[in-house]
């Protein structure tokens, strides 16, 4: 592990008064802070120190919170073929999200993202590449597209749609995701399709969906205006920093009580504790137990919000209602047939909860490894009325939580939230805090009936693309903007399978003749091997560098106009301000070239705006419906992108409404808002119902169920308990959980390999280990350790479930569908009390040593999602890193010093 040492410059240019100014938002985390881009010719004059001499209109040195250009916020790029200066700093004028012009460490370094051949971005992909004699060789767009189209069509004809896998980002801008999903789902029409973060096209939060909660209903104001906020499975300071600093922190200052449910204590949680908050530092995967116990205490004390429950919780008949709707014919239908989740309403849920031994607070606290008093304390804060007044409670969750026991945890939290009266009112909301931004817009429906995978009950389940590939059914893998391998669990085993199917197949391209290449790749697919094509901005290892037969260079943020929403559904235009490197094209254009070559119609777009305008009508059902912005734009004689650009960093929150009489556009502050009244409808011109193209769906004022009320669900521990008990550390094993850090969060694709400052802070793989666990093993901060396990369970087969328990872990084990893989990774250890004793916390997405190698590849038996946070391993010292004794990089200071 070595790094280039970087020393910050001690000067930076200020943009001149006449610099071009464009708005954009950060490319990384869900919060999407607003930024301004200042651009002026490289040979032009820089701005001066006086307000009259610079683009900010302020005197330098600037004051606290004013505009300032850090050296890393300046870069040079090419615009219309000419060299320009660019300065990218947070927008001090924005009214929302990063109010005050706040910024994260990631967004603060956005200028470094720009392609500049004199920086570490020089390896951006610039031309299509085709692997010949093992070497990725530049090729023309025409030839590379023709090869991909010929082989792709051959696979479709000879082996069927399910042999054509498409694994793609779900978020990298509306224009791209629309084009990709239109291609994948509507035209290729393959069930062998999924997004970057799931093995199958399944929901991230099954419990929310079944209860009727949208993932992103709340507005950012809501997270600061509760009286008690419960945060599960994340430290928002680490992973949605500005949501924390601009919205949650002011709430805490106003007396908001915060409860954190998380194995780890990082800076935000330490701050919360310092301010009087509560930390439930549970063992990985034990959340459901604690939540069930909290709910029990609330119900036993009669602290539940009975008015809310009476009005908004479905009875038995209500939860079963609807023809072709409701729970009878939704993706959860096959689950309810088991009777495992559905309740007849509140009393039924209460009866069930009180019967479950594991939700006894003492037993829950013991298994979770926490003080039982904390469970009682949490229950009081969440629901106990003070002087006859209920606390306003909100609940937010994220990956540490829903990737631990996907169905159980999300069911349990939905029920707890409902009992507390959270969801549907200002400051009383339920939602995800979010990870990546929301740039998904489906251009086709998932062909569920083509999936070869079926669980007990009637319906088919979305195909697990990892298991399908692992069983050798995928002949053509089309991978777009994701690593596939490292980002899935049991990564080392997946990589070995790719190697076997792609590299070790005897049909390897040895000629640069186009016809020979096509013939060879067809033979590979026909012989049971796999052909890989990859679209990305950088060559990723191994998916691109080792496995791809064809690589297409993609253009990205700042190079093409794109639209995307953040975690409160706020849509913005991310404006282009520099040229893309070489011949790189946006993913929508790559897809359009490929689709047309394959003979598909409807891919004749010329601009990014044309794609967005086509996508708009498909957005109308969704939470970020932007169709009415297009309607308004056209009435005003503008394009959709122009209209979005005018709204700058403030943007507009979806779903959008348009008053045809006043010409005003309206965003939606929160979904499921039961307090919306006549006044708002009148303003929108909708007092007599939807007008023209406006669509005002149920989710605006009600919940996402047939009746519009909430389904209060059971959350049986037994569905997960057998796996949890089997996995629990044996002998000298420790839990392995993982995640990311503030400095690298939704930015790994740029930061860890190219941002000098970030590379200095995090030069390689790392793992946090509790001081007691370290001492016992003779390990100190800075040592290099090996984490290893021969207990990585892998569900290896695509099966058709017949009996009720067929997908239960213990049954899979008994029936021989689970294989135990071995895996080992190395890392520099940080000995710190921030991680719980008995649990290691590793770096989620290290490209060379992914902690995911140690996590279980057994999808949640209900949802089909992975529980990425669950694993066990032993740890031993194998040496000392250079960072142990010198001070050049990394830091071993704990993140929870306040």
């Amino acid at each position: 592990m070595t790094i280039d040492y970087y020393q910050s410059k001690d000067h930076a240019p200020i943009p001149p008064k006449d610099a071009d100014v464009m708005t954009t938002a950060c490319d990384y985390c869900i919060v999407a802070c607003g930024y301004k881009v200042y651009r002026w010719p490289a040979n032009g004059k820089d701005g001066g120190m006086k307000a009259s001499e610079n683009a900010f209109g302020i005197d330098f040195p600037s004051n606290m919170l004013q505009e300032w250009v850090a050296p890393s916020q300046h870069n040079t790029c090419t615009y219309k073929g000419k060299k320009h200066n660019v300065v990218i700093i947070p927008d001090k004028d924005t009214n929302f999200v990063n109010t005050n012009g706040d910024s994260s460490i990631r967004g603060g370094l956005l200028a470094q993202k720009c392609y500049n051949k004199d920086t570490k971005t020089k390896d951006r992909l610039k031309t299509p590449l085709v692997r010949i004699n093992g070497v990725l060789t530049p090729m023309s767009w025409d030839d590379a597209i023709e090869i991909a189209a010929e082989v792709g069509n051959h696979v479709l004809q000879e082996h069927g749609e399910a042999a054509y896998a498409i694994k793609t980002f779900s978020y990298q801008y509306i224009e791209n995701t629309y084009a990709i999903t239109k291609y994948a789902l509507r035209h290729v029409n393959t069930p062998n399709f999924t997004f970057h973060d799931t093995p199958a096209d399944v929901t991230s939060t099954p419990g929310f969906r079944d209860a009727g909660f949208d993932n992103f209903g709340p507005s950012y104001d809501d997270w600061g205006s509760a009286e008690t906020l419960m945060i599960c499975g994340t430290d928002p300071y680490e992973t949605k920093t500005v949501l924390f600093t601009q919205h949650i922190m002011p709430g805490i200052a106003n007396g908001m009580k915060v409860i954190c449910l998380n194995p780890r204590e990082t800076a935000g949680i330490a701050y919360i504790k310092k301010m009087g908050g509560l930390h439930l530092d549970v063992f990985p995967g034990s959340d459901t137990l604690v939540l069930g116990a909290i709910a029990r205490i609330i119900m036993q004390n009669g602290w539940e919000d009975s008015d809310w429950i009476k009005k908004w919780v479905n009875s038995k008949w209500e939860s079963s209602s609807g023809f072709g709707q409701g729970t009878r014919n939704t993706p959860w239908q096959w689950r309810t047939t088991w009777g495992k989740f559905q309740t007849k309403g509140y009393e039924d849920y209460k009866k069930w909860n009180l019967k479950q031994e594991e939700y006894d607070p003492k037993s829950a606290a013991k298994k979770a490894g926490i003080d039982v008093k904390k469970i009682y304390q949490a229950a009081e804060w969440l629901a106990k009325p003070v002087n006859g007044k209920r606390p306003k409670t909100s609940i937010g969750i994220e990956k540490g939580f829903y990737w631990s026991n996907n169905t159980g945890n999300t069911n349990a939290i939905s029920s707890l939230a409902t009992i507390c009266g959270a969801g549907g009112r200002p400051g009383q909301v339920v939602g995800r805090f979010g990870g990546h931004q929301r740039g998904g817009q489906k251009g086709g429906g998932y062909p569920r009936n083509k999936s070869a995978q079926k669980v007990p009950g009637r319906r088919r389940q979305a195909l697990d693309t990892d298991r399908w590939m692992y069983s050798g059914h995928t002949r053509f893998a089309h991978v777009i903007g994701t690593t596939w391998i490292q980002s899935m669990t049991g990564s080392q085993g997946l990589a070995a399978k790719f190697e076997e199917l792609v590299v070790k197949n005897p049909n390897q391209v040895k000629s640069n003749n186009k016809a020979d290449i096509i013939a060879t790749l067809k033979k590979r697919a026909d012989s049971g091997g796999m052909v890989v094509i990859n679209q990305d901005i950088y060559l990723r290892d191994p998916i691109g560098a080792k496995f791809a037969d064809i690589v297409f260079p993609a253009a990205t943020w700042g190079e093409v106009d794109f639209m995307r929403a953040n975690g409160e559904r706020r849509l913005r235009l991310y404006q282009a301000f520099s040229d893309a490197p070489g011949e790189a094209k946006p993913d929508w254009e790559i897809i359009s070239l490929l689709a047309r070559k394959m003979g598909f119609d409807g891919f004749d777009w010329k601009t990014s705006n044309e794609v967005a305008e086509e996508a708009s009508r498909f957005s109308r059902k969704g939470r970020k419906a932007f169709h009415m912005v297009k309607v308004a734009a056209h009435i005003e004689g503008k394009t959709l992108h122009q209209k979005m650009g005018e709204m700058g960093t403030d943007g507009i929150q979806g779903p959008t409404m348009y008053n045809y009489k006043t010409g005003m556009l309206y965003g939606t502050k929160r979904l499921h808002d039961t307090t919306v009244g006549e006044k708002q409808f009148t303003a929108m011109g909708l007092s007599n119902g939807p007008v023209k193209e406006n669509r005002y769906g149920k989710k605006m004022t009600h919940f996402n169920s047939q009746t519009g009320k909430i389904n209060l669900q059971k959350h049986p521990w037994s569905l997960f308990g057998d796996l949890w008990e089997w996995l629990s550390p044996k002998k000298d094993e420790l839990w392995v959980s993982n995640g990311r850090v503030n400095e690298v969060w939704q930015s790994g694709f740029d930061d860890v390999e190219r941002r000098e400052y970030i590379m200095q802070r995090w030069p390689g793989n790392w793992v946090e280990l509790h001081p007691d666990d370290a001492k016992k093993r003779g390990i100190e901060s800075g040592d290099i350790v090996m984490m290893y396990s021969d207990r990585v369970p892998v569900f290896k087969d695509t099966i058709l479930g017949v009996h009720g328990k067929d997908f239960q872990f213990s049954e899979l084990m008994k029936n021989g569908h689970i294989k135990l893989d071995k895996a080992s990774i190395s890392a520099v250890v940080i000995v710190t009390p921030t991680t719980k004793k008995g649990a290691m916390y590793g770096n989620f997405l290290d490209m060379k040593q992914p902690t995911n190698s140690l996590t279980i590849r057994v999808p949640d038996n209900i949802s089909g999602n992975y529980n990425y946070k669950m694993g066990v391993a032993k740890i031993k010292k194998i040496g000392e890193s250079e960072f142990k004794k010198d001070f050049r990089g990394m830091s071993f200071a704990p993140r929870n010093i306040t």
Binding site: D10, M64, S104, G108, R761, S891
Partner: protein, 194 residues
């Protein structure tokens, strides 16, 4: 060359006014600072990895900021540098015998840093902390950034996109002089123009 205090050519007399073209700081950072305003420094002095790098000190004033004998463990002493203008608040601290990158004194535990958080200029006064063998400044009262004082002010956790500017120190007898800054002070376009 293992102890700066014994180096004759480190004296103020030999030094003139920060215009020497060779100087030996015990500093562990290096990199690609612009050549026009740099002097040579020695990295990892006294170790097998010793190498000469450039550090930006040209043009910086040499200012007496403390006396070694008067520095008490964990009690920062405030000073202004490189001038008395805006955003020049800084502190020097003896970190209780815990060695640090860029540290001077017999134990290499005396360091100096800007008080201005490089994120948005928040005041870091009164945020110096020592826990075990860790030494940090933070959390910044504005947005909670924390910096590692043993490692040239690198971010521990938080939002800043560059390290806390470290004031380069030289020792002559009992006197400690500030002679340069690594990194740009918040709010400035150039450290030397205010």
């Amino acid at each position: 060359m293992s102890d700066l205090t014994k180096e004759k050519d480190q004296s103020a007399q030999a030094h003139g006014k920060c215009m020497l073209n060779r100087r030996k700081f015990l500093m562990y950072s290096g990199g690609s600072a612009a050549a026009a305003s740099t002097v040579s420094i020695t990295l990892f002095a006294g170790t097998a990895q010793a190498e000469t790098r450039k550090a930006s000190v040209q043009g910086y004033p040499r200012k007496l900021v403390a006396k070694l004998s008067e520095l008490k463990d964990h009690q920062p002493v405030n000073f202004n540098y490189p001038d008395e203008g805006k955003n020049s608040q800084a502190m020097i601290v003896k970190m209780g015998n815990v060695q640090a990158g860029g540290g001077v004194g017999a134990k290499r535990d005396v360091v100096a840093f800007s008080y201005m958080c490089t994120h948005q200029g928040g005041p870091l006064q009164n945020t110096y902390k020592h826990v075990g063998d860790q030494r940090v400044m933070g959390q910044c009262p504005l947005h909670l950034s924390t910096y590692d004082l043993r490692r040239h002010g690198i971010i521990v956790s938080g939002q800043a996109y560059q390290s806390l500017p470290q004031v380069l120190l030289e020792v002559e007898g009992d006197n400690v002089y500030a002679v340069g800054i690594m990194g740009l002070l918040f709010g400035r376009q150039d450290n030397l123009s205010a």
